[in-house]
Amino acid sequence: MTNHQELLDAQPKVQRLRQDFPILNRPLVLGGKPRTLVYFDNAATAQKPRSVLDAIRSYDENANANVHRAIHSLGEEATRIYEASRDRVKTLLNASSREEIIFTRGTTDSINLVAQSFAKLLSPGDEIIATEMEHHANLVPWQMVADQYGLKLKFLPITDDGVLRIDQLPVLWSPRVKLVTLAAMSNVLGTINPLEEVIAFAHERGVPVLVDGAQSVPHMRVDVRALDCDFLAFSSHKMGGPTGFGVLYGKKEWLEKLPPYQGGGDMIRSVWLDHFEANDLPYKFEAGTPHMEGAAGLHAAIDYLDAVGLDWIHRYEGLLLDYAMEQLKGIPRIRFFGTAPGKGGIIAFLLDGIHAHDLSAFLDSRGVAVRAGHHCAHPLARRLGVVSTARASFYFYNTKDEVDAFAAAVRDASAQL
């Protein structure tokens, strides 16, 4: 079967799935004309299926109480729901134990947690390796601790096509390297990085690796034991769950070594006026009343993604990407950023002479939502030699027809702007 036929054959399934997402069927009137919403800004945030919306609502209507404290029926139920979500994340990731699943506010919070806690174990002059393609969330937290603790940051370069130069890893390496941190998939280029090779190289030298999974966990199966990463950070809202919620997976041996991040309720075992004893994992890293609705929603989102099939999602998004590239190639003035083989469903592009904002506003007038800007990766934009780009990013509920509408709008923009 050709890829094109496979894409066509998948459309009925996608149409069925779309019925689960109320927002995808919302009316849109632009300039007095009814338009069909084409949502291609999934790398920024994904839409939520009804089962997630119901789970959040059901939590608040039936179970809301503070977790781990309230000795009453609602408190028990809220705690059960919150902890069941942790177990669900554990099975999604194939983690060894539930103690390795820390709930956070999202990828950014997860990375800040590791940066702040890990840096306390380091000495001035120690080094951390990141890459040129990192999102600000996996760059600025390290700059902050580098500044605080006198650490040195080093960066793996990329090729002009957006492929990570892992051949440079031995060149950058030194005995002072204490951590490697990198994205599983670039939020701009779509490049899927060779994590296994990086992790094997670092582990041979006894150095842990943090993976920013914000763009990978929603789109493909990630098995932390097979991958053998030491930390994995991701957000609920990019996989159909609520905003303000996310996960840090950490190997138990590392989480036990790291000092607590934020102080407050839940993260303590006992407190005196002048000191405290930290709670056991995973609560040691969960200060304050958590986002319980977030946990309920993420649980439903994972159930939904598993039912759809993460392997199918990855495959289908690849088909959509290939089809979209065929449709876009040849449009006058179009330029692509990131053409790594096997990349994920993200297309960063420009029409020469048209500012990304103007292009995005034009596409919006056709009902097509893409992102325009530097996509929270200033250094990468500079590396690519652009100020900003437009970015279309797919999720499994996007259709071939939507790609056609998108490509037609880009073609019109090229002719009219």
Partner: protein, 138 residues
């Protein structure tokens, strides 16, 4: 909003044929960190009177046409007049003053559509923040 409502002919004209644009490489730019657009403004005159307004920069149609229109509008104004126009424009775009009050100010009234687009407000006001700084430095 329809694309053509925002991107009116007058806006496209200022974008394609910017007025009073020249290289000002020696000046520090005011930037919009969310998109990388940048504008520099040079006021030519004395502490009371603005003879010429020049700008330099790069960005989307909205930010560049706003800069071009601003330069035309403030040319030949006294400093107090210019300050009044700047605060009037910023007030309207922020929704603090009635949009119709821009109607007497010529081309710039074409930017009224931005009021409904919170994300584009930063584009429209970039040059005005730059000239606000330049007026403060006089």
């Amino acid at each position: 909003m329809a694309f053509d409502e925002l991107y009116q002919e007058i806006i496209r004209d200022h974008y394609k044929n910017p007025r009073n644009k020249r290289e000002l490489s020696h000046l520090k730019a005011v930037e919009n960190p969310s998109c990388g657009d940048s504008v520099k403004v040079l006021l030519d005159g004395d502490s009371q009177h603005i003879e010429n307004v020049y700008f330099d920069g790069s960005g989307c149609s909205i930010s560049m046409c706003s800069a071009s229109m601003m330069s035309e509008l403030l040319t030949g104004k006294t400093v107090p007049e210019a300050k009044q126009i700047v605060s009037q424009f910023l007030g309207v775009i922020r929704g603090e003053q009635p949009a119709d009050s821009l109607d007497d100010l010529g081309d710039i009234a074409a930017l009224k559509g931005v009021i409904e687009l919170p994300v584009r407000v930063k584009c429209a006001t970039l040059a005005w923040h730059a000239v606000e700084q330049a007026l403060g430095d006089l």
